[in-house]
């Protein structure tokens, strides 16, 4: 008998890093790595579950910047070129490691993954999103919409029209890619602030997710804590992240991904092997970087690393999956004894954790899904499925919150990045004023549409996040300034009687996201 529900929701997102230069941007590697290591492994899992006819339900949000990049012809061409280089290297690696166990097994595994990726992607435009659309159609997954450029809504509320624009354009893009209305909405960084739910309700969204304290600290105490959703006063359901299932996967100290048998992310042949051997992979700049060929396990907390053994790691992933499901069963067994309805455990994760950061993550996930299907007490569902079963819920306003460090806005509002807000707010005010005006000429509309793209791109939460973490901070600073400068230049063009269109045309090609945008989303 089902005693409770488990709703796993994955959030797939990358910032828009497309560049028009002949060699693209260095940051495009983020996309290529995520396709090979996360998105295609997830597709493989779903295919297997489909073949086995398991009644799996999984939530997945895919953000518009990612959807746009996954369907971009220029990026596809560059990705295939990169993939060819990686496959060439995999042959060399299989030859180089053939007499040394267990390196040879890892090399063969990489070769198999890369060849399969090439087979799937080659000649197929929009492969990843069309596969996910298929899995949604057959009921394996439910795809959630998200903001246009991953704008962090709690800090955009100084000009609420920006929040509305982020939500509206995100939903427009969902329609374009999936030809249906979204039911759920992923708030970037689980960033909620009261008022956002009004825009979600206006867009017919039925639910969103918050961090644990978003629901727990609601203005009226939630009767079921985080084990049932609450409706906001605008009748949109807020589901809270379950603290325990989150900790078991995310925690830096106790989380599964840090197990010593798992593959080490940082030890990579890009930094270990002879430069000449690696050179084709390091082009065009020629600096050492990650290649994806990694042969060591985490081993321990020191720099000493033992060889990685894929079989041992796969075994550990299964053990961890069984432990995860056991703990969820224990949770619902207890909770169902003190609640008068089945509890729901909501477990949201960044999709890229599975495969990219945690190489064995997809194995773990597949096993969790399979074991939950067999569980007598636990049932997989999506938040929408839950609302169908339990349409009566308590009304309360969730608390402002996020799943970032310390639970509020600190990651995106601190010394390294607070300088962006006066500019973002000013640009939002200007665009809002222009959007409320009467009917401009076709050319002026075109200018304002591009200005909207630039402003939305400047609002990506990724830039403030990167500035805070400091890894490629200069890139994030440049992107923020560039988009804001482009915005200002376009507004000058808007006020020019006989404008020179060269810059407009250049920007339309360079930042070609949101083909159907209408600047009046900022009204």
């Amino acid at each position: 008998m089902t005693k409770g529900y488990l709703a796993i929701v994955l959030h797939a997102h990358l910032p828009y890093v497309r560049d028009l230069g002949p060699d693209g941007a260095l940051e495009e590697d983020w996309l290529y790595e995520a396709i090979i290591e996360t998105y295609i492994p997830l597709i493989r899992i779903l295919e297997k579950l489909e073949a086995d006819r398991l009644s799996v339900r999984l939530g997945l949000s895919i953000t518009p910047p990612l959807l746009n990049m996954l369907s971009d012809k220029i990026l596809l061409k560059r990705f295939l070129k990169r993939l060819d280089l990686l496959i060439d290297m995999s042959f060399q690696e299989v030859a180089r490691t053939k007499d040394s166990y267990p390196f040879c097994e890892t090399a063969e595994l990489y070769q198999e993954i890369l060849k399969d990726t090439k087979k799937r992607i080659n000649g197929s435009e929009n492969y990843v999103s069309s596969r996910f659309a298929h899995f949604q159609k057959i009921g394996l997954i439910e795809i959630l919409a998200s903001c246009a450029t991953h704008g962090y809504l709690p800090l955009l509320n100084v000009v609420p029209q920006s929040q509305k624009a982020q939500i509206k354009e995100g939903i427009n893009e969902y329609h374009r890619f999936f030809q249906k209305d979204p039911v759920g909405f992923w708030l970037p960084e689980c960033g909620y602030t009261p008022g956002v739910d009004k825009y979600l309700a206006d867009a017919n969204i039925r639910y969103f997710l918050t961090d644990t304290h978003g629901v727990l600290n609601a203005d009226t105490r939630p009767r079921y804590a985080t084990y049932a959703p609450i409706y906001t006063p605008n009748a949109v359901a807020a589901f809270a992240r379950d603290f325990e299932s989150s900790k078991q996967v995310w925690s830096a100290t106790e989380g599964y991904p840090g197990d010593f048998d798992y593959r080490d992310f940082y030890r990579d042949i890009g930094f270990d092997l002879d430069y000449k051997y690696l050179k084709p992979l390091l082009e065009p700049i020629g600096i050492r970087k990650m290649t994806g060929f990694k042969y060591h396990r985490i081993t321990g907390k020191s720099d000493h690393k033992e060889p990685y053994n894929p079989m041992h790691a796969a075994y550990k992933a299964k053990l961890h999956a069984a432990n995860f499901v056991f703990n969820r069963e224990a949770q619902v067994n207890y909770l169902s004894s003190v609640m008068d309805r089945p509890p729901i455990l909501v477990a949201p994760y960044d999709a890229e954790l599975f495969g990219h950061w945690w190489f064995e993550g997809p194995l773990f996930l597949e096993e969790v899904l399979r074991l939950t299907c067999q569980s007598p007490t636990l049932q997989l569902l999506t938040p929408c499925d839950y609302l169908k079963k339990h349409p009566t819920n308590q009304v309360a306003t969730p608390s402002s919150s996020s799943w970032g460090y310390n639970g509020y806005n600190e990651v995106w509002l601190e010394n390294s990045n607070d300088w962006i807000y006066p500019h973002l707010h000013e640009a939002s005010i200007l665009l809002n004023e222009l959007a409320k005006r009467g009917n401009p000429t076709t050319l002026k509309k075109r200018i304002l549409n591009q200005a909207s793209r630039e402003l939305l791109l400047a609002q990506s939460s990724d830039w403030a996040f990167i500035m805070k973490t400091g890894t490629v901070a200069e890139y994030a600073i440049r992107r923020t300034k560039e988009h804001l400068k482009n915005f200002n230049d376009l507004l000058v063009l808007y006020d020019t009687a006989d404008p020179n269109l060269e810059n407009l045309e250049r920007l339309e090609k360079l930042n070609a996201i949101f083909p159907g945008i209408d600047y009046r989303i900022f009204a």
């Binding site: 060699d23 017919n204 039925r206 600290n217 105490r221 309360a396 006066p422």
Partner: protein, 254 residues
Amino acid sequence: MFSNSAQKPDLTEINHPLIYKGQESELPSGYNKDCLVAMPRDPYWLFCYWDFNEQTWQKLTDYQNNICTLRIRSKDTELLKVPVSLLAKSWYVHGNFAGLPLTIDLGIETQDGYLPFLTSNIVNMPPDSISQKTDELWLSIDELYLDEYYTKIGASPLFWQKEGKKKAQYMASPMPLKEAKQKEHLLVCDTDLIVYGKTTPGSVLLQNEQTVPIDTNGNFQMKLKLNEGLQNIELVSYAKNGLVKSKIITIKRG
């Protein structure tokens, strides 16, 4: 087989068009307008930034020897003042702000009192704990609505506008739970606690760091969860004139 000797590269030492070197165009230092914008960082930290137009800057030069302060208030009650440099143009303020609606003034201390130049937007600081308010309201959304909604692939938003977007119904507590009805025999008992009183009108009243609404005459009433064992209910009232009074009520539930 693996040397692990190669150092990670220092990108600042490499010249390549793909490596950014920090020559981006600078943004304007200001927009020549008066503004003071407040943003919550978390329940205890408030961020604000400000700017002035040319005339205001000019006016401010008359006060260059005066102390400039940010005044943080909740409605009409001043919570604290922080001396700042006008040229800083942004500031982080720390305080016990959880759950409070806050407004900031930026002004000058003069012999005649505080002279505010700019007033910010109102920010609602996030709470840092579970609410003491337990007045429950429940809402039922038509199951059919979700079914239709979910299966109607490609339905346009206009369809739902036409149909009446919210096929939902509000209900007052207690909620009619289907699950509860299905049980053979059920007896659930609980009790709540009502705390009421009066304070000076216009004060800010906090109960365990949560604001308590008071009416124009200063009366207040709140419903609290009555927990097992001893429970201390602390009420602190901040008057407009800066006076503070507190009361603690101790209750025991056996």
